[in-house]
């Protein structure tokens, strides 16, 4: 594939920020206007990570490059967990609204179709994928959330200030940061709903938090998310699990 490293200006974040992209190539490409568009995987890094994470720790280029019409977008979400934070930084809106607008102007082949745009990530990025997919369901046809629990169920005792900055004070279960609540609310609304593929390693220390989210999504009547939950046997909260999960998700979405 072709690696592109974008340095873009975000008005929402009020900063210059990095976005990496893997796009189909390097074979000669059809000219503008010819019928070709790329499906788009918006791929989020975890809490201790940045836009370089997936390239450095997984075989994402090899996996995505096998298809020839899939672009992978790797933004830097810093430590935001991809949310519109309680203290003001609007990472969720940047990732789901502003960034696609900016990139589609520069890469006209990125598909505009909702069903061709998928949000995925691991750990904090997995939580972020659920949050983004359920908060901005018109932007994404599918969510691939891996090693992903609900921040509303998380233990913040050692990082109380960080928690306040991102999500505000107090219990999060009745806030827009609770993905179980978001799943129930969206699931019973008339809005569009993304497909959700979710899972973690069998040895993931936060496996129970994944399963709590699983149970909440399964409790929504009618399975509006065509929900799938998977356990990767023998894997922990690790880059090996990242790779296994993203390989599975891409195969599922590409239909082979």
């Amino acid at each position: 594939m072709v690696l592109m490293r974008f340095r873009i200006h975000s008005r929402i974040l009020q900063m210059e920020t990095d976005v990496w992209a893997l796009v189909p190539g390097p074979e000669p490409l059809p000219k503008h206007g010819e019928a070709e568009s790329w499906k788009v995987l918006w791929l989020m890094h975890g809490g201790v990570g940045d836009h370089t994470f997936w390239l450095r720790h997984t075989a994402i280029e090899e996996i995505a490059g096998a298809y020839g019409n899939l672009a992978v977008i790797l933004p830097d979400a810093y430590g935001s967990s991809c949310v519109d934070t309680a203290s003001g930084a609007m990472f969720g809106t940047y990732l789901s609204k502003e960034l696609p607008t900016i990139l589609r102007r520069m890469l006209p082949k990125l598909s505009l179709k909702r069903e061709d745009n998928w949000i995925s990530g691991f750990s904090n990025g997995g939580y972020g994928s659920l949050y983004l997919g359920l908060t901005f369901p018109e932007s994404y046809g599918a969510v691939g959330a891996f090693g992903a629990g609900d921040k509303a169920d998380a233990d913040f005792t050692k990082i109380e200030q960080e928690k306040e900055r991102l999500f505000g004070k107090g219990d999060l279960h009745d806030t827009p940061y609770c993905v179980s609540k978001l799943a129930k609310e969206l699931g019973t609304s008339g809005r569009l709903k993304p497909i959700i593929c979710h899972g973690c390693g069998s040895e993931d220390p936060w496996r129970d938090m994944n399963e709590t989210v699983r149970d909440a999504i399964l409790s929504v009547p009618g399975d509006p998310y065509h929900y799938e939950f998977r356990i990767w046997e023998g894997l922990g909260h690790s880059s090996a699990c990242c790779e296994a999960a993203i390989r599975y998700f891409i195969q599922k979405m590409m239909g082979k």
Partner: protein
């Protein structure tokens, strides 16, 4: 401007190359930008132009997209040893860029500009492939690569151009006679020889650079108006 660092495989030279791309800040849907490709000097790399000139100041105002490309030590021509850097520059690169980005695919919107040996490469590009460009510019270009033989130049010029005696025969000699407009920008040291060289030429103009910021002065002049014939 938007700055994009591209890493891709290039068929011509059969290697991975870096490309620094600058796109005007607010590409509107459907609009495609004219393209200026910038070629570095011997011993430099694709970042030379962005380190030695404030490119964005001029290019953003004029709405021109830029591509700063690597030529490694090729002088941007097809080598006798089979590395087709010239084909990469004249055909493959503009096609790739117009395929990825909102950049015009029309030859009349493509220009090439180089410094030193990259200046030689830019002039060779329009000499060999005049149908691919609207024009070219060179800053203190090497106008005769035979001067590289017998010096400590690395690599041995024989690996690029072959025998010194056969430069003309193999098509590595600049004729000075161009089918598209060519601008040559020179400092005092290079000015006289370039003017003399251009006397017998066709469609080539030589201009003197006045400041020490050679690349910025030349780039600004070319982008702002020098591209017009």
């Amino acid at each position: 401007m938007n700055w994009i660092q591209v890493q891709t495989f290039a068929q011509g030279p059969h290697t991975y190359v870096g490309i620094e791309v600058f796109l005007p800040q607010k590409p509107e849907s459907g609009e495609r930008y004219p393209l200026l490709m910038l070629l570095h000097d011997h011993g430099e790399d694709r970042t030379q132009w962005m380190r030695q000139a404030r490119l964005e100041r001029y290019a953003s105002r004029e709405g021109v997209a830029l591509a700063l490309i690597d030529g490694n030590q090729s002088c941007f021509v097809n080598s006798v040893t089979g590395y087709a850097w010239g084909d990469y520059l004249t055909k493959e690169l503009p096609e790739k860029l117009a395929g990825w980005f909102p950049i015009s695919e029309r030859a009349e919107d493509h220009w090439v500009m180089g410094v030193g040996t990259g200046g030689y490469g830019a002039l060779m590009a329009v000499q060999n492939a005049p149908d691919c460009f609207a024009g070219a510019a060179a800053v203190n270009p090497v106008l005769d690569v035979s001067c590289l033989y017998g010096t400590d130049y690395e690599p041995n010029p024989g690996y690029i151009f072959g025998e010194k005696e056969s430069l003309e025969e193999k098509g590595y000699a600049l004729t000075g006679r161009f089918q598209v407009p060519v601008r040559i920008y020179c400092d005092q040291e290079h000015l006289e020889s370039a003017r003399k060289w251009a006397e017998k030429g066709q469609q080539v103009k030589v201009e003197a650079l006045k400041t020490e910021d050679l690349l910025e002065e030349a780039f600004g002049a070319y982008v702002r108006g020098g591209r017009e014939a």
